[in-house]
Symmetry: C2
Subunit: 265 residues, 2 copies
Amino acid sequence: MATVAVLSIGNELLKGNTINTNLAYIARELTSRGHSVVAAMEVNDNEYEICSGLKYLMGKAQCIITTGGLGPTFDDMTIRSISACLGLQYGSNPEALELVKGRLPRNAEMTEERKKMAFFPDGGVPIPNNVGTAPGLYLKHGENVILSFPGVPKEMEPMLISSIDKIPASSVSYYQESVFLEGIYESIFAPVIERLMSYYRGRVYIKSHPKSDGSNEGFLEIEVSSYSRASDESKALVKEVLSQVVKIASEMGGSVKYPGKDSGI
Amino acid sequence: MATVAVLSIGNELLKGNTINTNLAYIARELTSRGHSVVAAMEVNDNEYEICSGLKYLMGKAQCIITTGGLGPTFDDMTIRSISACLGLQYGSNPEALELVKGRLPRNAEMTEERKKMAFFPDGGVPIPNNVGTAPGLYLKHGENVILSFPGVPKEMEPMLISSIDKIPASSVSYYQESVFLEGIYESIFAPVIERLMSYYRGRVYIKSHPKSDGSNEGFLEIEVSSYSRASDESKALVKEVLSQVVKIASEMGGSVKYPGKDSGI
C-alpha cells in the first residue's frame, strides 16, 4: 500500500467556481486499489504556493498526484513550478513534443504556447493524453513519485487509470459497505461503535454519518470498512460487523431503513 | 480583504466517498465578499494531521475555516485537536452546553458523547447550530481567527453566513463574468490574454478554460475578474475587458457561442 497525497492546482477551486470532483475520483480509485490517501491540498495558480504545497505533501506521502495547470496559457505553471521547486533542469522534452504535435488539429501552428506543453523537468516522462493536448508527467524523485495530470476530468480520468501502475504496488485490498438505521441517535450509538472497533482490534473501521431524506426524522448511516491482504477476507469481515451492528441496533429499538449498501468501491 | 484558508476534516473526503462541496461553497461566499482564499487542505480524522494542516494554513492566512469533526463520535476530534495543537486548555464550555441541551430531542439523555460536543478551548466562543446539534467554534488566537463548522452542508452553510462578520472586514469587492467563444484555440488566444492583462496592469485577471458540450468542436470560456474598492468599478472594468475579448476574437475568426455570463458571484 502506497501513501498518496493529491495537490489540486487552480484559482477556480479557491474562488469556488469549480467543485473539486477530481479529488474524490482519484481518492476512490486509489482507495479501491488498497492505497491510502493521507492528505490533499488546493492551491492557486502561483509558483510559490505550488512549491510550498508540494513540499508539504512530499513529507506526508510516497506518491503525489497533481491536477491542473498543464495547458498552454501563462497561468498553467504546474510543471515549471515542480521543476523549479525540486531544483531540476526544465526544457523541451522530445517525446512530449511529439505527443503534443500528434494531438494538434490538422494545419494548426506549433506556437510558443503549444511548445510550452512539452516543457518537462530532467528525468520526467510524459504520459499520453488521448482526449486533450497536454501530456501528463511521471517523475521519480528520490523516494517520491510525482504524477501530474490536466485538471479537466475527462482528460485526467483515463490518464490516471492508464498510469496507475506507476504508483508503487499494493498487496492490500479494501472493502466498504454501509447500513442505514432509523430510530437510533448517533450519540447513543457512538459507544457501540467504540466497543465493536475495540473488539475487532483495528481490523475494521466503523463510522457513523447522520443523514436526512427531507422528512423530520433523520436516519443514521453506519459505514464499515476494512483493509486486508485478501479481498475475500475484508469483505467477509465487513459483512460480519454489519450484522452485529444491525443486531445491536434492533436490541436498542432501532431498525434498518435501507439494507446494506456496497459503496461501489 | 482578509486572507482565508479552509481545512476540511474527514476520512470520507480522502476515500472519495464525499465530494468536498463545502470548500466551493465557502470559497464562493468569501470571494464574493472581497476576501481571498489562499489555500485549502483535506485531512483524515487524525489529531496529528489536523494539527499539522492547521499550522501550515495558519502560516498562509489570517482566518482559518474548518469543516467536519464536531459531532458526538470518537472520530469527531476537530476541537480537541485544535486545542491541543495551540496549547489551549480544553473543557466543558457552559454556553456551548446550553446550546447542545437546547438542540436535544425531548426526553433525550445528556450522554457523555453529547456532552463532548460542548468541549471547547479556553477563549473559544460557540456558534449556534439551528439545524443540527453540535455548535461551531469561533476562536481568536494571536493574529489568526479560527472558525469551525460541522461537515454537513445544511448545518455548515447557515452557520458560516451567520458568523461571516467575524472574519476581519473587507473594503474590497469582486466581480467576475465569462464569455464563451468558438472557433478559437486556447493556445492561439493565450498571447491575447497576456497582452490584455499587461495593458490593464493587474487590475483584471483573465483566465481561459477549454470546454466541451459533447460535440466534436470544443469551445473556450474566457473568464474575466476584478477586485476593486467600489463594486461598480470592478463590474465596469470586467465588462470593458470582455468587449475587447469579443472584438479581438472576432478579428481572429472566432465568434461568441454564449454571451457574457455573470458567474453568479
